[in-house]
């Protein structure tokens, strides 16, 4: 490699890292507990609970929705989801004038209509998640962290290029422990950096894709779902909506063999202003991460469309497990945490090496 080429790559590596290191450190530190968020939520929110009438009749979804909205008068429903291991329906709603991202979340016992304890979303975990997602800055914060992710990719690629000239005279894995502290940390930086390339690239790139969730879903609505709303007038008021239970049943007929995951109400990212989106996922290891929405006309209850899910929405869906590391059991989570810790060492040693070189240069 020519000295000028080497200097150029070195410049890319130094500056892409320096610009992003503080944010990447924050992402690694907050990401560590988030790998175990399911377990931590379970631990923090542990509370003995049983449904009021386990064998009794279940409330209809319309009744659950009505119950939830009665407890937050004036709220508009946003989402409804279903616990897998207890008869609980979760209703997410928001006040029309609430700031973006501010929701009321109510788990409701489907056998009684009483409030059920939360099993997810402990305030501490929610705080960590929000910091990790957008630093409490909304879409702008999310996109900014996505940009930091791109800097990370640049740092990894330039780091791989620089690995060769540094390692030309050293067998793989060498750490010159007998040399100066700086040399030792350079060797550790190179070793940890090169063994984590695949994982860091996958987690980094899928993280970038996740930061684009809002624009990706907006684009999907503006293109694939556009025809469905072309001739529509004003959205229907909540009181004018067709039966939710009938809508879900209609959707199940349209998508047999799939599992109901959640319902999105008008005004959210997942549907138009005129449809319930009844969202299903598949049952194979791969398709359980891929959702298919059936759109039900909110006034008539008729099936409007089984919405096509284009490749970029599928990419978004698959980016979530690949980023979170929650798709391969506890073993994979532990490996995720170890690699996260190794990444923290890479970031810290990189910063140290930059400071040490500057001191030496003076």
């Amino acid at each position: 490699m020519k000295p000028s080429t080497l200097r150029a790559w070195s410049w890319v590596h130094t500056w892409s890292s320096l610009v992003s290191t503080v944010f990447l450190l924050m992402l690694c530190v907050t990401g560590l507990p988030l790998v175990f968020s399911h377990e931590l939520d379970h631990l923090l929110l542990d509370e003995a609970w049983a449904p009021a009438d386990p064998d009794g009749p279940r409330l209809s979804l319309d009744q659950v929705l009505e119950t939830a909205l009665a407890r937050h008068p004036g709220d508009v429903p946003a989402f409804m989801s279903f616990d897998e291991d207890r008869p609980v329906v979760n209703v997410t709603s928001r006040a029309p004038d609430a700031p973006a991202g501010s929701f009321n979340f109510q788990p409701i016992d489907q056998t009684s209509g009483e409030a059920a304890p939360s099993v997810a979303g402990h305030p501490v975990m929610e705080f960590v998640l929000q910091l990790h997602t957008d630093m409490f800055l909304g879409l702008g914060g999310m996109l900014f962290l996505g940009l930091m992710g791109l800097f990370l990719v640049a740092a990894v690629v330039s780091g791989v290029v620089l690995y060769a000239p540094f390692m030309r005279r050293l067998p793989f894995g060498t750490v010159r422990v007998e040399k100066a502290v700086r040399t030792r940390w350079l060797d550790y930086h190179n070793l940890l950096g090169i063994v984590t390339v695949a994982w860091v690239l996958v987690v980094g790139l899928t993280g970038v894709v996740n930061t684009l969730a809002t624009p990706i879903l907006a684009y999907w609505k503006d293109t694939a779902l556009r025809e469905l709303v072309a001739t529509r007038q004003a959205p229907a008021a909540v009181g004018e909506w067709a039966s939710l239970d009938a809508a879900v049943e209609r959707a199940k007929v349209a998508l047999p063999g799939k599992t109901l995951q959640f319902v999105a109400f008008p005004g959210t990212d997942y549907t138009t202003d005129h449809h319930y989106a009844v969202v299903f996922h598949g049952d194979t290891p791969l398709t359980k991460h891929l959702t298919t929405p059936a759109l039900i006309d909110i006034r008539t209850g008729e099936l409007a469309a089984v919405a096509p899910v284009p490749w970029y929405v599928k990419a978004l869906s698959l980016s979530q497990p690949l980023h979170f590391g929650d798709y391969g059991g506890m073993g994979l989570k532990i490996v995720w945490a170890l690699l996260d810790l190794m990444t923290i060492v890479i970031l810290g040693s990189g910063l140290y090496l930059w400071v040490a070189r500057r001191r030496q240069g003076r």
């Binding site: 791989v160 690995y163 060769a164 390692m167 030309r168 005279r169 050293l170 067998p171 793989f172 894995g173 060498t174 750490v175 010159r176 422990v177 007998e178 060797d187 070793l191 940890l192 090169i194 063994v195 984590t196 390339v197 695949a198 994982w199 996958v202 290891p285 791969l286 991460h289 698959l318 497990p321 690949l322 798709y327 391969g328 059991g329 073993g331 994979l332 532990i334 490996v335 170890l338 690699l339 190794m342």
Partner: protein
């Protein structure tokens, strides 16, 4: 020994094999369940194991 220049192939041999195995692990665990959860985790864990192995194997370890 240490002054011999290594070719690109020698420099990147272990990293490339590791890169491929970790990717297979990451994607394998996503595409299949059951045994693949364990296999996937083990393949991704090779990134950690390689570091430990490289340190124990010992180029650069203080001589006794």
């Amino acid at each position: 020994m240490r002054t011999r220049r290594l070719g690109l192939g020698a420099v990147f041999a272990v990293p490339v094999v590791l890169f491929v195995l970790v990717l297979i692990g990451l994607i394998g665990a996503l595409l299949a369940d059951g045994a693949w959860d364990g296999i996937g985790a083990a393949l991704v864990a090779l990134a950690v194991a390689t570091t430990v192995w490289a340190r124990l194997r010992g180029p650069g370890r203080p001589r006794h």
